[in-house]
């Protein structure tokens, strides 16, 4: 088990996760676009926000890969299943703490449950489990993060 393996898995996992979300969006299962949400933290230009968000999402994927690696090192074991279980938690945190706690603090262009109507918001607040972007959203985002976790755990155990 190596940290480098977990990082390689995180890189591949982020690509798979982003592609899965794009596919789900194209199939109209959800309106969520996590890279776009991240990108609009820094720019109001939608085109720039998309590529900037894609880069930020990839970097965030590597940072989360390091967290997974820390847990694997602490336990002295890794694997597809352990990674997948952590992926479930990761997907739920993305839909609760990241959009519910980080965004209201750091994102100036997205509304929140407690924000007023005194400024124009560019984006709808995602809400609990990002359900404001469609009822199928958690059904897409949680399994997509499970895929990510499976890849991180698998790569960590293989490399």
């Amino acid at each position: 088990m190596t940290v480098l393996g977990a990082l390689a898995g995180a890189f591949v996992g982020t690509l798979v996760l982003t592609s899965a979300l794009r596919l789900a969006s194209a199939l109209r299962w959800t309106r969520i676009d996590i890279p776009f949400l991240l990108g609009t933290m820094f720019t109001a230009n939608r085109t720039r926000a998309k590529w900037l968000g894609y880069v930020l999402h990839a970097l965030a994927g590597l940072v989360f890969g390091l967290l997974y690696a820390g847990i694997f090192v602490a336990l002295g074991r890794s694997g597809w299943l352990l990674g997948a279980l952590l992926g479930v938690l990761h997907g739920l945190i993305a839909g609760t703490a990241i959009v519910g706690i980080l965004f209201p603090l750091a994102h100036t262009r997205v509304g929140s449950a407690s924000s007023g109507a005194d400024r124009p918001a560019l984006l709808e607040p995602p809400g609990f489990l990002m359900l404001n972007y469609g009822r199928m959203t958690p059904v897409v985002t949680v399994p997509a993060h499970v895929l990510y976790g499976t890849l991180v755990g698998g790569f960590a155990s293989l490399l």
Binding site: V73, A74, L75, R77, L89, G100, P104, L105, F128
Partner: protein, 154 residues
């Protein structure tokens, strides 16, 4: 066995607890928003308060896990048992007695003008009857994860 698996379990357990507690609030089992409850002790702004409260909660989750190591709770079952004790302590002493003493923005007698959060009251009844059972169950799950992680590494 080192303390590292306990701390990793504490980190994961605290995150699981935070997600489940938010789910319980969405299901209207409780009105307790623990990040806001803790964080308003440090910030008046709700966004900053929730972020600092969440960080504090996860930090406490990692810190409490070291106590599980001291108590020798290195299995799923023993961890869950210690977790029930931990939860009982939280709903009887830590949250309803200790936090109001330290919290400068809680709606207590004489302090309502600057209050941002409601006083929890006995067994946290101020946040709904189900709050205490939910918190004890979540602490049991937290303990289960801490002990389970310790048993996985051995």
């Amino acid at each position: 066995m080192t303390v590292a698996p306990f701390l990793a379990g504490g980190f994961v357990g605290a995150l699981v607890m935070a997600v489940a507690l938010e789910g319980a609030a969405q299901a209207r089992l409780t009105r307790l928003d623990l990040p806001l409850f803790l964080g308003t002790a440090f910030h008046r702004g709700r966004a900053q308060a929730r972020a600092s409260g969440y960080t504090l909660h996860v930090g406490l989750g990692i810190g409490f896990a070291a106590a599980y190591d001291v108590l020798g709770a290195d299995g799923w079952g023993s961890g869950a048992l210690v977790g029930i004790g931990h939860g009982a302590l939280a709903v009887t002493v830590l949250l309803p007695v200790l936090v109001p003493v330290l919290h400068p923005r809680m709606a207590l007698a004489g302090g309502g003008e600057r209050a941002l959060v409601e006083a929890p009251g006995m067994l946290l009844r101020g946040y709904g009857w189900w709050t205490a059972p939910v918190l004890v169950a979540l602490h049991a799950a937290y303990g289960c994860l801490v002990g389970g992680f310790a048993s996985l590494s051995s």
